[in-house]
Amino acid sequence: MSNKKVNKKDIAKLLETWSQQFTVLAPSRESGVAEMLKWDGKDTSFLDWYRNTVVPPKASFFPPMEEMFRFQKDKEGYQIELPPSNEHKQLIFGIRPCDARAMAILDMTFKDAYQDPYYLSRRNNTVLVGLGCINPCESCFCTSMGISPAESTDVDLMLTDIGDEFLIEEVTDKGKKLTAKASGLKEATKDDEAKAKEVKKTSHDKVTRKLDTEGIKDKLLASFDDEGFWEKAAAKCISCGICTLLCPTCYCFDINDELVRGEGTRFRSWDSCGFSLYTKMPMENPRQEKWRRVRQKVCHKYEFYPMTFDIIACTGCGRCIRLCPVNWDITQVLESVPVKTEVRK
């Protein structure tokens, strides 16, 4: 089975074809910050972008704010109205392997036990077209997290830059249906396949930032109560929400209501375990001190999530390192977790 390919100049036409059936989302800076937005119909300059979007693609499934339902009080009491169900189909074009893997990690939480209808209805109606990275950044460390910058099995179609063209790999059946609809695609030659293989390897080798995750779960378990270590690790953190809100695998949310003149809405919105009042109860706050919150973030991603779902909740996208106002670096913290011989308790 050979793969297809498409000329870079024909990408706009390809997206146009798909736009007839899907709402196509592509990386854009139109809003003032790099994020996935509805494709404007002509711009493909994002194909030359160096860096990933600032706002991760999780925002297309789990937006910063969404209405869970509306309620209204009339003489019979409260009437609750669900938002119209999200049946329209989406196509996300240009998602990077790190973010695609992050979607798979998020799925585990939203599907687990109680199924989250808002996230899942969007997720089930979306196809992902991945774009491999050929110039990994200094902040990227995806290769340490079990993925590769130019390869992905978490998307429906995977594009690899082989010069003037993209090689297209059909990863899932949904992906096959996509290429069936598209025109302007050619068959890839053996040379194309070889070039793609080379590009993938080069890209992989370009990732310089490395993190040794061997035994990290147990290292963190043993160091959980090392207050001195965590205080030092947390010293320069300012407890904002950037690393968590913009992390593609973070999913903490808050629920709030608003009522204006008898009509109201229940909202879900992004929240962060880094905020000082996140766990506050009337009489006490188990994570009052900043070092506890920093410890929670690190341990949740590298110890607790793996305990439940067998995967580290981090894909090495590097946003947290790039965007942190004080350059707090999780890879530096993890490298310096002390190795303890006695197990706690």
């Binding site: 706002v55 704010m65 929400g241 950037i242 709030n256 390192i321 004080v326 350059n327």
Partner: protein, 316 residues
């Protein structure tokens, strides 16, 4: 200067004159510096002074307990004085290691000028009033004013006003005061409907990360007004109206405490031009009350007292 700083920091810790040293060390990314907060005198070797020491370290003074030796640029030292005015910091508990600041380099401006990503650049150095960028084996030079942060272009007090040790020669104010306010001037020139539409658009992408608040030394409240539930001033939901209310009230709360260090705008991950609000407030405070933040440690904070001779025309 770095050598002097390292020696001094080490001595302060060795002689038990301070409990902590707060300064900068090289960051984990190229062309980045990161705060160094330490009690260990051996860490003094890591301290640096370079064109990337952007953070306002005064931010940490309201959190760290004990005596602190702190590296402060012009704007930072005024923030420290403002905290002293507010009784949040005791003057005798800080040793201010003042750094006369030539301006901090904005990497996004460099990237735009050179047309390359920061990862592709080999080196960036400040040479007098020029900045030299080494890339692709060659070297490009630009006037420093084209790559410094906007607020550095408007800097009236690059030399710390209050210090215990000055690490360098005092510097004159920045020459290009107008260049920093381009967005503000543009906003002043459009109608208020257009301005409202502009801010609605900008605040639509705010995600309420609170980096602007948490990076600001003037925001030192244990419980911020936006975290109150009774009454709820702004919903903790990132709607543009609530985001705008948060920022407006925050500006009012920090009026007279803001030194235009620019950290709020720089820290914002979604690039909201917050300085257009904070700098305007800074100028309004100067105009109405002839008050500049953090100049006199004996002075009372602006908003805590009222002089009879003050402007009253905003009372309606």
């Amino acid at each position: 200067m770095e050598q002097k700083l390292r020696q001094e920091a080490r001595a302060l810790l060795e002689q038990n004159k301070v409990d902590w040293i707060i300064g900068f060390e090289p960051g984990s990314l190229k062309f980045t510096a990161t705060p160094l907060i330490t009690k260990d005198k051996n860490d003094a070797e890591r301290l640096v002074i370079n064109p990337f020491i952007v953070n306002n370290l005064a931010n940490f003074l309201t959190e760290i307990k004990g005596r602190v030796g702190i590296v402060a640029k012009g704007c930072d030292s005024r923030s420290i004085v403002s905290l002293i005015q507010d009784n949040k910091v005791v003057r005798e508990d800080v040793v201010i290691l003042g750094v006369p600041c030539p301006g901090i380099i904005d990497l996004s401006k460099v990237e735009q000028l050179v047309g390359k990503n920061r990862d592709e650049l080999d080196d960036i150095t400040r040479e007098g009033d020029k900045v030299a960028i080494k890339v692709n084996g060659g070297k490009k030079e630009f006037p420093a004013t084209e790559v410094l942060f906007d607020n550095c272009l408007a800097c009236e007090f690059p030399t710390p006003q209050e210090y215990d040790l000055l690490l360098g020669e005092p510097r004159p104010p920045a020459p290009n005061l107008e260049a920093s306010g381009q967005n503000i001037e543009r906003l002043k020139g459009i109608s208020s409907e257009e301005r409202w539409a502009f801010w609605e658009n900008e605040f639509s992408r705010c995600i309420r990360c609170y980096a602007c608040r948490n990076v600001c030394p003037a925001c030192f409240c244990q419980r911020c007004f936006v975290e109150e539930t009774e009454p709820q001033w702004a919903l903790p939901v990132p709607r543009w109206q609530d985001n705008l209310i948060f920022q407006i009230i925050r500006n009012i709360h920090v009026a007279g405490r803001c030194t235009d260090c620019g950290e709020c705008e720089r820290a914002c991950p979604v690039r909201i031009p917050l300085r257009s609000l904070t700098r305007e407030m800074y100028d309004i405070v100067d105009e109405l009350f002839r008050f500049k933040t953090g100049m006199d440690k004996e002075a009372r904070p602006l908003m805590t007292h009222y002089e009879q001779e003050e402007a009253e025309d905003f009372f309606r």
